[in-house]
Structure formats: C-alpha cells, structure tokens
C-alpha cells in the first residue's frame, strides 16, 4: 500500500542542502550542460560505459538493437517527465544498442496498468514516509513490496531484516551499504535522480530555511513575516488534500496540514531527522525489544477542551488499523500487534518484530497523527468539515476556515506544548493552486509570502534571477527511478534480462538529465538510499558508470 505515497511526488521539486550534494557518478560526471543532449556526452566519458553496455549484451547473447518499451507518466511525476524520458530515450538510442518506444499514460490508467504487468519498463518515483534508509529498501525489495515487479530474493530479504533490527548505527550502516551493493548486482530498479526540498519566499520572510531540513516536514510554526509575531503568512502550494482525517489520507498535501494541526507521540525535533517526544516525555524499547513504551505529558488538552492522553493514542492507531482505508497509511502500522494503556499517561505498543528501529519513525510518519477519541468515530472516516467544526486539533495550529483544495486558514494554538514550539506568527493562510504557473506569478507579485511544492524547474530557474524573492533549498528525500518488470522485460532468460538491465544502467547519464531537464533541482542518485541518510553510497554508479 505504500506505493500510494507516490501520489505525493507529483512534480515535486524537493530541495537540496549542500550536505546532501551527491558525489558525481563516475564516468558520467560533468557531462551536463543545457541541452547538450546525450549524443554529445556519449562521445566523451560515456563512451567507456557504452562499451561496457555492449559487452553485457554480447556476453549474454542478446541481439542488438534491443527494443525497449518504456512507459512514463507526466501528470503524477511532474510535467518534466516528458522531457526526462525523451532524454533517456536519446541517451539509450545514441549507444546504438537500443531502440526505444516511449509511451505515456495518465496516472489513473498508469497506476492500474503497472500492477497488471502491462509495462515491461516504467518510470516511478518515491517520497519517503519517514527519513530512514529502510524506507528506501524494504518497501522496494522486501516481501510484499509495493513495486509489484516480481522481484524476490531470499538473501535480500534476510539482509533487510538484519538492518531493520540492528540498533547499533555503525553496524547497521555497514549492513545497509552491503545491501545496496547486492541490490546493484540484481538491479531490479535503476535509481536515477534525487530531488531537493524547495521554497520560494518574499524578502521579509524568516524561518523558512529552517523547516527545509532532513525531517522533510514543512512546519509553519517557525516562520515569521516582517519580524513580527503578530503578522499572518500566506503560503501557496499545488499539493492537493485527500482528507483531513489521518486514517483516510497518505499524501503530501494532506500530511502538510496534518503535521501542523495534530499532535504526535513522537515527531521530529526541528532541524533533525531523529524522532523525539511530541506529546510523549520519553519512549523506549523493552529489554526483549517486543514492546515500545511511551509516557505522555500530563495535563494536555485538545483545542476544544477534551483531554488528550494515552487513550487517544491507542484509539488513533487502533482506528487506523481497523478502518484500513485504501487511501490511508495503515500499511505502515504492520508491526503493531496490539496497544495497551496501563494508565492514562502510558501507552505500550506490542510489536510483532522485536527492536524495529524504524518504529519511532513510523510514529512520526503520516500514520502518526493522534486524533480526539471524543470526536472521531472508531470505525469510519470523519469528514473534513466535521473535524474543523469540532475543533479537534492539538498541534501548533487549529483550523478555523476550511475550503478543501482551495483555502485553509490556520490559527496559532496558544496551548500547544509539543516539539515545534509556539508559532512565531499569528496564523497562516494556505492557498492551493491548480496551476503552478499561477503560484509563480503570485510569489513574484508578493500576493503570497511563500511558494512551497511545486514549481517547475524552469520557473525555479527564472525565480532565482528575481531579486524580489529568495529561492531556498534543503535536503530532499524524493527519488525518481526506472522499474523493470522481471517477467515481461526484454530477454529470454534471467541472465539475458539482467544483461539488458546492466546495459541500460551503463548507458544512462544522470548528470545530463539533472542539468538539462531539471536545471539542477534534481541531482544524480547513484544508489538506492539517497545521499544524506545512513548508509548512502554510490553502489550503482560505481558498478555501471565508472
């Protein structure tokens, strides 16, 4: 079910702090330039990769040119997908080893067909549920992965379990690196690009850069306009909301609202990707690792006056699991066996797998918002309007005006005691745009103070030259990659299929795509875990592009 998170990716241009700058991918590095095209780079450093690609195919007895039917989607993964895949086609065909047929389909069709084996090779993207390397590994390559490309490997499964349950960061890092090296050999997906977080602001805005951190949560509370806490802020976005009820939504648009209005047991301390107590004072695993116990701060209230305690926590997670909404995040809670509440300020999560190091991250993920057990029904979703009417919020903000996918007004919550701290502004008006070009015009004309997700690379490049606004970047967790259907991709035997994948991997120049298509707003992704996270390496580029 986690693949639904991909919905959030839609054209996202996430940012890139310098700390996240990727190491150039071997032979492909420096082959960029605006519109230089693959053919230009092929004649240079890419030549060695082309020779290697030819060797892979020849050794496996694959006749060339190999016909590749590649499917991509322009309305979910961003309008630049057209150009990106045209670029990939040109690069592959420039080797003389491939004949590429590009096809595209709108998202609804695309997402339905890809799981029906309709596409032998296809585009996909991913935005993490939480900033942990496992969220780029188990969900792609483990049992019951969302990719549905018929990849299955017992050895990889064991390696995934090993890294998931290793509480020692040093040894876990080594395991994650080795896992990626092994995945680079199998190559069931081909990592291509890593996005950056990005926001454009007016010159009088402060605090926006701070929220573009490695936790990937866009927090309104730290922002200020004109240096005064009494000012309100207008923010624009193109991300759509599916539902304000956390059990019925699992997308960036909904989560943007949820992270700013709901409490969490654990959230991310501003500036870090590390979970810490939000309404909890402390959380810890039991000695055997099968229990995760959190203590809740006393005296907490919802904005409507209801008591916020451990019962709300149990209610929220039980409800997510029971409703199991296809649009919801319940799949993230698979490791919860049961939840008990020994007293009103203690909650115990009984886990199926011991020492799950990703569990604290899950509590801070889209599955983590706590809801008011006096307001929300236990077995069905509550409408957005009913939630707003009941004032069932306890995050840094409450919502007092709500027009779905149009306009939301957030009012600072003075009784908030969580990780984000009291809001440094009086309130926020969030305007949802249907067209990114209109958002660009509004930020240029100061009609909004912040434009967040998503502007096209061309618009961003244009805004960088505009002295009336600031373009800010931060580390991004979004990745773009090519997926191979292990059954239907070209090749008569598994060995031939692997050779085709290896030849493709050797023929793609990520730097060129990054520069000519995305103007640097996406960077080359040389392995499965993006740079900046524990265990990130350059396994794929090292193997196929040096």
């Amino acid at each position: 079910m986690r693949h639904k998170t991909n919905k959030v990716i839609a054209a996202a241009a996430l940012s890139a702090a310098m700390a996240f700058t990727l190491t150039a991918c071997g032979g492909n590095s420096g082959a960029g330039g605006n519109g230089g095209g693959a053919k230009a780079s092929i004649s240079g450093s890419q030549g060695a990769s082309t020779a290697r690609a030819a060797k892979y195919l020849k050794d496996a007895g694959v006749s060339t040119p190999v016909t590749l039917n590649i499917e991509y989607n322009p309305d979910h993964y961003g309008s630049s997908s057209d150009q990106e895949y045209q670029d990939i086609k040109e690069q592959l065909e420039a080797t003389g080893l491939f004949k590429v047929n590009l096809q595209s389909a709108e998202w609804v069709t695309y997402n339905a067909q890809r799981v029906k084996d309709a596409y032998p090779i296809y585009q996909m993207g991913w935005f993490p549920d939480y900033p942990d390397p496992d969220n780029y590994l188990s969900v792609f390559f483990g049992p019951n992965n969302f990719v549905n490309n018929h990849f299955s490997d017992a050895g990889i499964d064991q390696e995934i379990v090993a890294e998931q349950t290793d509480t020692n960061p040093t040894t876990r890092k080594t395991k994650i690196e080795q896992l990626q090296n092994d995945l680079a050999d199998k190559l069931s997906t081909l990592p291509l690009l890593q996005g950056k977080q990005e926001a454009v602001t007016g010159l009088d805005m402060t605090g926006v850069q701070d929220t573009l951190d490695a936790s990937f949560q866009f927090r309104f509370a730290g922002m200020q306009k004109g240096g005064s806490a009494s000012n309100e802020i207008n923010i624009g976005t193109t991300d759509k909301v599916t539902a304000l009820d956390p059990a019925g939504s699992y997308d960036n648009g909904s989560y943007l609202l949820e992270y700013n209005v709901y409490p969490f047991v654990e959230g991310f301390k501003p500036g870090t990707p590390t979970p810490a107590g939000d309404i909890a004072t402390d959380c810890a695993f039991s000695t055997d690792g099968f229990q995760y116990t959190c203590h809740i701060k006393p005296g907490l209230k919802w904005a409507n006056g209801d008591t916020l305690d451990a019962n709300d926590v149990k209610f929220s997670y039980d409800r997510d699991i029971k409703i199991n909404n296809p649009d919801g995040p319940s799949s993230l809670l698979e490791n919860i066996k049961s939840i008990t509440v020994p007293d009103n300020l203690t909650v115990v999560f009984n886990l199926k797998n011991a020492n799950d190091v990703t569990f604290p991250q899950v509590l801070a993920s889209p599955a983590g918002p706590i809801v008011d057990d006096q307001v929300f029904p236990a077995d069905k979703l509550l409408s957005d309007d009913a939630i707003v009417k009941a004032n069932a919020f306890a995050g840094p903000y409450t919502i007092d005006t709500y027009q779905v996918n149009n306009l939301v007004h957030f009012k600072a919550n003075p009784s908030y005691q969580g990780l984000q701290g009291l809001a440094k502004n009086a309130g926020v008006t969030l305007k949802t745009y249907a067209e990114e070009s209109n958002m660009k015009l509004d930020i240029e004309n100061n009609a909004i103070d912040v434009a967040y997700r998503s502007l096209s690379p061309t618009d961003t490049a244009s805004l960088q030259k505009n002295k009336k606004v600031k373009v800010l970047y931060g580390p991004g967790g979004e990745i773009r990659y090519l997926t191979f259907n292990m059954n239907t991709m070209p090749g008569n035997t598994p060995a031939q299929k692997l050779a085709v994948r290896q030849a493709i991997a050797s023929s793609i120049d990520r730097d060129e795509i990054s520069q000519s298509v995305y103007k640097g707003t996406y960077e080359p992704l040389c392995s499965y875990v993006p740079d900046g996270l524990l265990g990130a390496n350059t396994a794929v580029c090292d193997k196929y592009n040096k």
């Binding site: 639904k4 309305d75 709108e106 609804v108 069709t109 695309y110 997402n111 339905a112 067909q113 890809r114 799981v115 309100e232 207008n234 624009g236 599916t242 539902a243 019925g248 296809p326 649009d327 979703l381 409408s383 007092d400 005006t401 027009q403 779905v404 996918n405 149009n406 306009l407 007004h409 008006t429 969030l430 305007k431 745009y433 249907a434 067209e435 209109n438 015009l441 509004d442 240029e444 004309n445 009609a447 909004i448």
Partner: protein
C-alpha cells in the same frame, strides 16, 4: 378584447409546451451522460482500480451497487435524482455533489454574470458603431476586433492578459477570486452566498470589495470578450438590415434625424435576435468557463469538472454535467419566454 384573451391563452399554451419539453430534454441528457460515463466501466474501478487489492475493489463495487445490471443502476440513479435531487457522492474526495453544485456553481454563475456584463458593454455599443459607420475604417477595425476576440482561444487570451496586466504592468492579480487573506476574512464572516462580491460587501470592508473586483476583471473580460465578438457582429448585421427596412426609410423621409432613427427606431428592433442568441451564448460560456476557470484558478464548476475528469471521478462528472444541462434547459426556457413577449414575429 376577445382577441386579446385568445392571444394570452395561446401564449400560455406556447409557454406550457415549452416548459413540458424541458422534461424529455433533460431526461435524454441525463440518460446519454449516464451511459456515456459507463462505457469505460464502473466508476470505482475507473477511479481506484490500480490502488486497491482486487478483493477490496470488488467489495467496494458491490457496496456501491455497480455489480448490478446496468439498467437497474440507471433506474436507481434516476430515481434518486427525481426523489431527492441526489446526485451522489464523489469517489475521489468523498464530497456531496449537490454541495459542490451549490458552492462551485455560485462561483461559475458569478463569473458568467460578470462576463455577460462585459459582453453587453463591449459588444452592443461596438456593434452599433460598426453599423453606424458601415464600411468605413471604424467598421473595419471593429469587425477585425470582433473576429479576433471570438476566434482566440480563451486560455490563450487569458495568458496574454496575465502577461500584460500582471507580469508587465502589475495592475491586476493573476488568479483566484480574492487574495488569500481577503478570502480568509470573507470566509470568517457571517454571509456565505457563494457570490464573492456579495460576501465581500457583507464584510463591510471597501478594500475587500476592491480586491474581489480586481480579481474578477481578467477572467470576466477574457470570457466576456468571446461573447462580445458574437454580439458585435450580430448587432451590426441586424442594425444594417433594419436600417434598410421600409419603416426606417419612412422615418428618414419624415425628416427624423439619423441619430434618432438609429437609436429610437432601428436599434431596438436589431436587439431582438441578440436576446435569442444570448441563451446559446450562456451555454457556450459555461463551456468556456472550464478553460477560463482553469486559467485563472476561479473555483467554479468548470474547474472542479476538469479536476474530476482528470481523477476519472465519473460520478462527479455525471452530476456536474447533468446540473449544467439542467441550467442550460432552464435558460433556454427563459429565453423562449422573453422572445415570446418581445418579438411579435414569434408565432404561438
């Protein structure tokens, strides 16, 4: 006296028949829309096919009754529509379609009213001027203008206007129905008619009203000019024809001044066909509103319809298209009434 009574009776009969004809018209439209929407399969599979496990998908299809025979589904839909005026609930965001029609329909209606005002203000005076200066350079310029505004695609005109008035001159906002803070203030107020201007007036703040009006200018002009092009040509040609008729010649022969001949005698008669065409133009405007609303982020029916089409939410599409059809049928009836009252050539 007896003749007058007979005439009134005929008028009533004519209007009754016209009114009754709305029913089969709407029924045909609803039926066609229903079956067209079902050609690609059931709405749940279309909207959520790739995202749900097959078992869950089947459960949802069963719960919504989409596994029943098509004719049974059709009857259920029709019955809900007749009994409760119930258009159903959207799949993509679980909203009541009747609520969408009320909220977003008011926005579209507001835009169409503004656009009609622009169309009248621009189309009728210019058409009159063109006829007055027949075949002179003024006439030629106006005719070229009318062709250009009619032929230019709405979205293209919109982009050009945004480029000029927002980017270059910085006079007008590029999109939306109000600035975010003004819209929030209006929403926080007590009056919610769906008409942004009325709601802004109710806040008692002149700056809110000005902000709303500034936001309305570009989309209204963009949509209105398209219709103005039609009005210009219609008024011009009808005025020219009327000016050649015997009663105008007689007026001139009696020494009535040319300006009076045009304004008092010819012009009024030339406006009758405009009333007839106006009904069709409103229907076209509703179509044009989809593009205008998308271009200018005007949260009307057109924009939500485009969004639901993209999301393959066929229940929403079906409801909105049906509602638009109802509106067009109602407007068509209204135009028939006006025509019957003002045009003596209408026989009944």
């Amino acid at each position: 006296m007896a003749k007058q009574r007979s005439s009134r009776g005929a008028l009533a009969r004519y209007l009754s028949i016209r009114f009754i004809l709305i029913i089969p018209t709407v029924w045909i439209l609803v039926t066609v829309v229903f079956f067209l929407m079902r050609i690609t399969g059931n709405p749940i599979e279309a909207a959520q096919g790739g995202r749900l496990p097959p078992k869950l998908l089947q459960e949802r299809i069963h719960a919504a009754g989409y596994d029943k025979p098509l004719l049974v589904q059709y009857w259920n839909y029709l019955w809900a529509l007749i009994r409760h005026f119930d258009f159903g609930t959207t799949f993509s965001d679980h909203r009541q379609i009747s609520q969408i029609l009320l909220t977003n329909g008011a926005a579209t209606l507001e835009l169409v009213i503004y656009a009609l005002i622009i169309a009248f203000l621009v189309g009728i005076p210019l058409g009159r001027l063109a006829a007055r200066y027949h075949d002179k350079w003024g006439d030629v310029v106006i005719r070229i203008f009318s062709l250009l505004v009619y032929a230019a695609p709405v979205f293209f005109l919109g982009l050009l206007m945004k480029l000029l008035f927002t980017n270059v001159l910085g006079w007008l906002p590029s999109s939306g129905r109000a600035s975010p803070d003004v819209q929030a203030a209006i929403e926080a107020g007590h009056t919610h008619t769906g008409f942004m201007l009325i709601d802004a007036i109710a806040t008692g703040s002149m700056s809110n009203v000005v902000d709303v009006l500034k936001h309305a200018i570009l989309p209204s002009v963009c949509l209105g000019l398209m219709t103005a092009g039609v009005f210009i040509r219609l008024v011009r040609i009808n005025l020219l024809e009327t000016l050649r008729t015997d009663f105008v010649t007689a007026a001139r022969a009696r020494g009535v001044k040319e300006r009076r001949v045009v304004s008092k005698h010819a012009f009024r008669n030339a406006l009758i066909p405009v009333v007839t065409v106006m009904g069709m133009q409103i229907a076209l405007m509703l179509g044009g509103a989809i593009l205008t609303e998308t271009t200018f982020e005007w949260r009307g029916l057109g924009q939500v319809l485009a969004n639901y089409i993209q999301a393959r939410d066929f229940v929403a599409v079906q409801g909105i298209v049906t509602a638009i059809a109802l509106v067009i049928a109602a407007i068509s009836f209204l135009i028939d009434v006006i025509n019957a009252l003002v045009d003596p050539r209408v026989r009944y």
